[in-house]
């Protein structure tokens, strides 16, 4: 986010949604660090990252789609299909992680591109197309899989990947494991894509004004294929990570996850109308939800308060953003 860091003026800094989020997160971290013994331990930080890895990976994909001015509701179904195909293949033929990710990512990408083609040619809001496709994908998956669970994966899959292993103060072993590595990789890849490449620029341009983008020669159809394909591929990758964490595949385990991911991304300040938003915001949005959940658990707050607090934070955050935008529009006018 070079543009973001260039604002040295404090007053300018507060125009940014990310600043509010970061302040809120710092506040939470300080409070939880003082209020609980476990929050600031390395072990807890690793646990928290692992448990929000799937949310983070999918949020990166949805971020790109939203910036392009689209939306995808069908990605949990895409992920579930990718997961099922990948798991079936590995159970039957064995393999390795490279193959697992390849199968899942390609499956997700193909389904994402199908969405893209429908969205582009039918000229109906993407939310409608992808809701319809969510039904189609989930319906077909559960029909053909009979809703059966898959488990009993080979050892290499069960053990995952572990770098820099260490033993935490609680006696458990922690390491840079598969979920964390993939999450970091996906964030880095998305940052490169959106910040350093021409495709990233074009995605922002298309989301800002798709007519204008088309007129300056950007291939809108190709870009749509890319954006939804990227979302699908990341959904597939997240599916492999989820399978590795839970060590099993349940066809309906991701049902309803689309709105949670959407909440995390919009909490990060990404605009629903396209063209506006930063990856930093998305990461902060995911982090906020993760810290909140983890903190409430550590504080011993009953789990049925979690959704309520999350809802309040979302309402609060989007209201501040909307009021901020209103004020800026007034100043410019």
């Amino acid at each position: 986010m070079p543009e973001f860091l260039h604002h040295t003026n404090l007053k300018d800094l507060w125009q940014h949604h990310e600043s509010y989020l970061a302040a809120l997160i710092v506040l939470l971290i300080v409070a939880l660090g003082l209020g609980t013994e476990d929050f600031m331990t390395l072990g807890n930080i690793f646990d928290m990252t692992v448990s929000s890895a799937i949310l983070g990976i999918m949020a990166c994909g949805l971020f790109v789609v939203l910036i392009a001015g689209g939306i995808d509701i069908s990605f949990p179904a895409t992920a579930a299909i990718a997961q099922y195909l990948m798991a079936s293949y590995i159970l039957a033929n064995g393999g390795n992680f490279y193959l697992a990710f390849e199968i899942a990512a390609v499956t997700g990408m193909v389904l994402g591109m199908l969405n893209a083609a429908l969205v582009y040619f039918l000229k109906v809001p993407a939310i409608i197309i992808t809701i319809a496709m969510l039904n189609v994908y989930f319906g077909l998956l559960i029909y053909f899989s009979n809703g059966d669970w898959l488990y009993g994966f080979p050892d290499w899959f069960m053990n995952g990947v572990e770098l820099l292993k260490f033993t935490g103060s609680d006696g458990y072993d922690y390491s840079l494991n598969l979920p964390i590595l993939v999450l970091l990789g996906v964030i880095a890849l998305t940052a490169l894509l959106m910040g350093k490449t021409r495709i990233g620029r074009q995605i922002y341009a298309m989301g800002g004004n798709s007519d204008a983008a088309g007129r300056i020669g950007i291939n809108l159809f190709g870009l749509n294929l890319f954006v939804y394909g990227y979302m699908g591929a990341l959904a597939g990758i997240a599916a492999v990570v989820q399978t590795q964490i839970t060590q099993s595949v349940a066809p309906n385990s991701l049902m309803g996850f689309e709105l949670t991911v959407l909440a995390a991304v919009v909490l990060g300040g990404t605009s629903m109308t396209g063209g506006k938003g930063t990856l930093l915001g998305v990461v902060l949005g995911v982090a906020l939800l993760a810290i909140l959940k983890n903190g409430l658990t550590l504080l011993g707050v009953p789990s049925y308060w979690h959704t309520l607090v999350t809802g309040l934070i979302i309402l609060f955050s989007i209201s501040i953003t909307a009021l901020n935008e209103k004020r800026q529009a007034k100043q410019e006018a």
Binding site: I131, A132, I142, L259, T307
Partner: protein, 321 residues
């Protein structure tokens, strides 16, 4: 103005023609394969008692979509109303007075949620999808919190009749749906508010500059949507004889699907109640018909999505700008 309104409605009339064709095709298919069972009174009654819940929710979604908005909090609102009413009724199940108090409390809950949504969207300027997404999460949390996540059951017969009773052979839920669909139709097509709703959906800025109080109208729309959720809550409670946070979550996206299939333009401005009613009949006959043929309900779910895509594709020539 009338000429303009008429020409605006043309696409949805085409939509209605397509729906009728699809419906006829399903009817013929059913007549050929399992005619006597499908057209039996028992099956027709069962179909018409299943449809209204989704129907009322689709109306709640549609009225917001007509203004170019959306309401993702309908299921959460429905559950909130049901839990509030259930909580009060089960205190004194036999008292008619308590039943009335419960109904009023449920309605009040709906109005409060509707006002909150409306204020967020119209006054603070949050986009509807975000405002109602946040509201959905918040109310879901509240629902679990007040109910402790448990089932509240044991309702008096007066309430259960709403779900299972019949009048002249017509299931009560269908009558409730018809009543509120007619009411919404009256509001949309025969009141200034209705005209305003279509105008806001066509062009909100233009409507505001032409002197329409768009804020007040938008708030009214989200209150109407919530009140319809209260009706859905009544039907749901009576049907399940219980209330619980998390009931009916799969209906959220299906309600959008039904509204769009019924010809409601998600960008706002176009669509009529009659279209939604037809779409519901199409979805229900398809579901019941396939069920009779022994087809998996998941395949039906996929077909619903497929029909919507097919439908949108059929309308392509007019949708192209």
């Amino acid at each position: 103005m009338d000429a303009l309104m008429n020409s605006l409605k043309l696409p949805s009339d085409k939509n209605i023609r397509y729906l009728l064709v699809i419906l006829a095709a399903i009817m013929v298919l059913m007549a050929c394969t399992s005619g006597t069972t499908f057209f039996s009174l028992a099956n027709l009654q069962s179909m018409s008692s299943q449809m209204p819940l989704l129907g009322v929710l689709a109306l709640a979604m549609a009225v917001c979509m007509l203004t170019g908005g959306i309401n993702l909090s309908i299921i959460a609102t429905t559950n909130a109303c049901a839990l509030v009413m259930a909580g009060i009724i089960t205190q004194h199940p036999d008292s008619l007075g308590m039943l009335m108090v419960a109904l009023a409390a449920g309605l009040a809950t709906a109005v409060v949620v509707g006002l909150a949504n409306g204020l967020l969207i119209a006054w603070i300027g949050v986009s509807p999808i975000l405002a109602t997404l946040g509201m959905m999460t918040f109310i879901n949390g509240l629902n679990v919190l007040i109910s402790g996540g448990s089932v509240i059951a044991g309702f008096p017969d007066a309430l259960l009749t709403l779900g299972n009773g019949t009048v002249l052979g017509i299931p009560m839920p269908l009558l409730l749906f018809a009543l509120f669909a007619f009411g919404l139709w009256l509001i949309l097509e025969h009141t200034p508010l209705g005209r305003t709703i279509y105008l806001i959906g066509s062009n909100e800025t233009a409507s505001r500059f032409s002197g329409i109080n768009t804020r007040r109208s938008l708030i009214a729309v989200y209150v109407i949507s919530s009140v319809l959720c209260w009706v859905a809550a009544l039907i749901m409670m009576a049907k399940f004889n219980s209330a619980k946070a998390g009931y009916g979550e799969s209906y959220l996206l299906v309600a959008i699907l039904a509204a769009v299939l019924g010809g409601i333009n998600p960008d706002g401005g176009f669509g009529r109640i009659i279209g939604i009613c037809l779409a519901l009949v199409v979805l229900q006959t398809l579901e019941s018909g396939l069920n009779l043929l022994g087809v998996s309900s998941y395949l039906t779910m996929a077909l619903w999505g497929g029909i919507l895509i097919l439908f949108i594709a059929l309308q392509m020539p007019t949708a192209k700008k």
